[in-house]
């Protein structure tokens, strides 16, 4: 994709807009269709578009895998953490009503936080999955999956698949 000038320019214009739209969907979910899951997918799609146009290597420089794994966990931790926070504040697990001063404010805060958690994890997982598929195509990585070595071909020695 190195030479497609039009694609690169259009992508550079579109990607910020897609991200902005994702944020709108994330935080407008209370009032219209949308929410954390859809926002996460759209935000992830922006990264996928970036990776498609500018190459996997560049995309991985933007989100190094270490951070990505942290994000994958962070969203779920945030969601479950809200549950635990409610428990420490004297409510049941995931009872947002006790999180803030009054019930409705607590509910709002809880929903905001859990939707954010959903958005973060979904976005990160979408990117992880895409990178995993795309990275599989790059031949320049070390291949260390024992089970994938194609020693099931009929003429291979019978026990080679079972060697420890």
């Amino acid at each position: 994709m190195r030479h497609h000038l039009v694609l690169r320019v259009v992508a550079k214009l579109l990607i910020p807009l897609i991200m902005l739209f994702a944020l709108y969907v994330q935080f407008h979910g209370d009032y219209g269709p949308g929410g954390g899951f859809q926002a996460g997918v759209i935000f992830g799609a922006a990264f996928i578009l970036y990776a498609l146009i500018f190459g996997l290597d560049n995309a991985q420089k933007v989100v190094p895998s270490g951070y990505l794994m942290a994000l994958v966990s962070a969203g779920l931790l945030l969601y479950a953490g809200v549950g635990f926070a409610a428990m420490f504040k004297g409510g049941n697990f995931l009872d947002y009503g006790v999180l803030a001063g009054d019930f409705i404010a607590g509910q709002h805060l809880g929903i905001l936080l859990v939707e954010l958690g959903v958005g973060i994890t979904v976005c990160a997982v979408m990117i992880v999955i895409f990178f995993a598929f795309a990275g599989r195509g790059n031949g320049d990585e070390e291949d260390d999956d024992i089970a994938t070595s194609p020693d099931l071909s009929p003429d291979s020695s019978p026990n080679s698949a079972r060697e420890v």
Partner: protein, 131 residues
């Protein structure tokens, strides 16, 4: 015209059968996953259909109050949001498995994989009893 009142359900059953048939009859692993998607999507249609009320609108309170507005049932929507997520998770995992199977067997056709496995079995068992 009772049958017309169930029109959506007939569509659901048709899609379900088409998807299900693709899953169990097709030998190509990617086709199986596509079939699985159709199969699952048909169930989404079942749920969403049962939530619809005549004259209803999307279950979002419009600005400026909701006098006399009929809303469709939000519960099936919530359930299906979850089910869609489950569906894409399954698809991703299934496709990842296909990639690995292709790397190991160099084919994504079920019967060819079976042939390879049987050949490997007979070789392995050449000294022992047949399984």
């Amino acid at each position: 015209m009772a049958w017309l009142g169930h029109f959506n359900y007939w569509i659901f059953v048709f899609l379900m059968m088409a998807g299900f048939y693709t899953v169990i009859a097709r030998g190509n692993l990617i086709k199986k996953i596509v079939g699985l998607n159709i199969f699952q999507t048909s169930v989404f249609l079942l749920y969403i259909t049962m939530g619809k009320v005549s004259g209803g609108t999307a279950p979002i309170v419009p600005e400026g109050g909701s006098e006399g507005v009929v809303y469709s049932n939000p519960i099936p929507h919530v359930l299906i949001l979850t089910a869609i997520v489950v569906g894409v998770a399954t698809t991703a995992l299934g496709l990842a498995l296909i990639v690995r199977i292709h790397e190991a067997y160099d084919t994504i056709e079920e019967d060819e994989i079976q042939d390879i496995e049987e050949n490997a079995n007979t070789l392995e068992n050449s000294g022992g009893q047949a399984s």
